[in-house]
Symmetry: C2
Subunit: 211 residues, 2 copies
DNA sequence: CGTTGTGAACAACTTCACAGCT
DNA sequence: AGCTGTGAAGTTGTTCACAACG
């Protein structure tokens, strides 16, 4: 009932507001025009998106939105106020980079486990997050009630890792391998983020628009 | 005239075909249904997308598409056959991870320069790619005719790095910082890829669909 | 006044359905 | 028979325009 595009923008608004609150930014009120500039869309899109969450009478006519109230409102409606438990699968360069992001947990998630197939690598890493062997993914995900996962393994093992996660009852996966993953059984949400694919896309955009 | 959604899927098809060709995959012909399964869209979307590139009579009625011919056709039409020169700005964890991807250059780009603000870090890294100080971005981008950039710096310096890139005449930027970048002057294409934002999005998807 | 909230108009994308080819 | 290519129909998302509000 609420479109994916709208949801995407709402989470962007939410994160922008969180960042402002964290930095103790001075301003109390933001208009839809100002918010739109920050995330790169026109003001009416912002208003329509917020409106799609149902009437909360959240905006102050003639003045704008209260930063604090709007953040709370979106957070409540999208279930971002309780951080979802998250695992990182594959602790190579990208995976270990993501381990650091885990600290910023007022974005709807917190990192509570890391997995790798190499015991050596697990021993080497210095982190507060508990690390496990990939073989135990299903078991640990179930036991620790983990709902989300960053998948940062090579393309060749992406499918197997996904199966283990699904077996453990995972609800969402962000896949960084260039192999596009799909949820056959519709039991899990998957976001495929192909890092170098983004460059291929840019390359195409430039050529097609012959700039 | 050709939509961004279509372009995205065409580059996915292109990369899938490239991977198959590289692995010396046995099959010569692929139907739109098979291709669709690989990238996760229905067959008619594949046909429509290919058709949008203009008539090339590329498919074999009744049999499917020749892997080699289709890859070539899309590559030609989207300008992916000549690798565009690419730089990586910021050589922290993500940036140096991306340096490795550079090897797979049959995806429309090749990495020809790296930049970081820390001389120490530049000295430490072992790579064939020439590394420079961030201060020289504009100059090197111009001199080396660099068209694309991966931007993997902290949010606080993203804007400044972008300005230097634009000054050097860059044509496209993939931005990995959580700060959303925009091209005021329309002189450059920007793709904002917020790694932990993807998790926030998943978190919202799960809550909204109350799974 | 400047700004929100939203039905209505519009534009874009996706899916359908089938003619045409091998 | 099986598959491609594409107008036409259908669906989804975006933009407009304006009433209501402080």
């Amino acid at each position: 009932m609420i479109s994916e595009a709208t949801l995407q923008r709402l989470t962007q608004i939410y994160r922008t507001l969180s960042r402002m609150a964290r930095k103790g930014d001075e301003c109390e009120l933001l208009s839809s025009t100002q918010l739109g500039k920050l995330i790169g869309v026109p003001s009416h899109t912002i208003r329509k998106d917020i409106s799609s969450l149902g009437m909360g009478d959240i905006g102050n006519s003639g003045r704008g939105y209260s930063v604090e109230k709007l953040q709370n409102f979106i957070g409540q409606k999208l279930g971002l106020t309780v951080a979802k438990r998250t695992a990182i699968i594959g602790l190579g360069r990208i995976g270990s980079a993501l381990l650091e992001y885990g600290k910023f947990s007022n974005a709807g998630f917190s990192v509570v486990a890391g997995f790798d197939s190499s015991i050596n690598r697990i021993d080497l890493l210095k982190t507060d997050v508990p690390l496990y062997c990939s073989y135990d993914i299903a078991e640990v995900v179930k036991r620790e009630k983990i709902e989300l996962a960053f998948l940062a393994v090579p393309a060749s093992s992406a499918e197997q890792s996904m199966e283990r996660l699904v077996e453990g009852g995972i609800k969402g996966i962000v896949n960084f391998s260039p192999m596009i993953l799909q949820n056959e059984n519709n039991s899990v949400f998957i976001r495929n983020v192909d890092l170098s694919g983004e460059l291929t896309m840019l390359s195409a955009l430039i050529s097609v628009n012959n700039i």
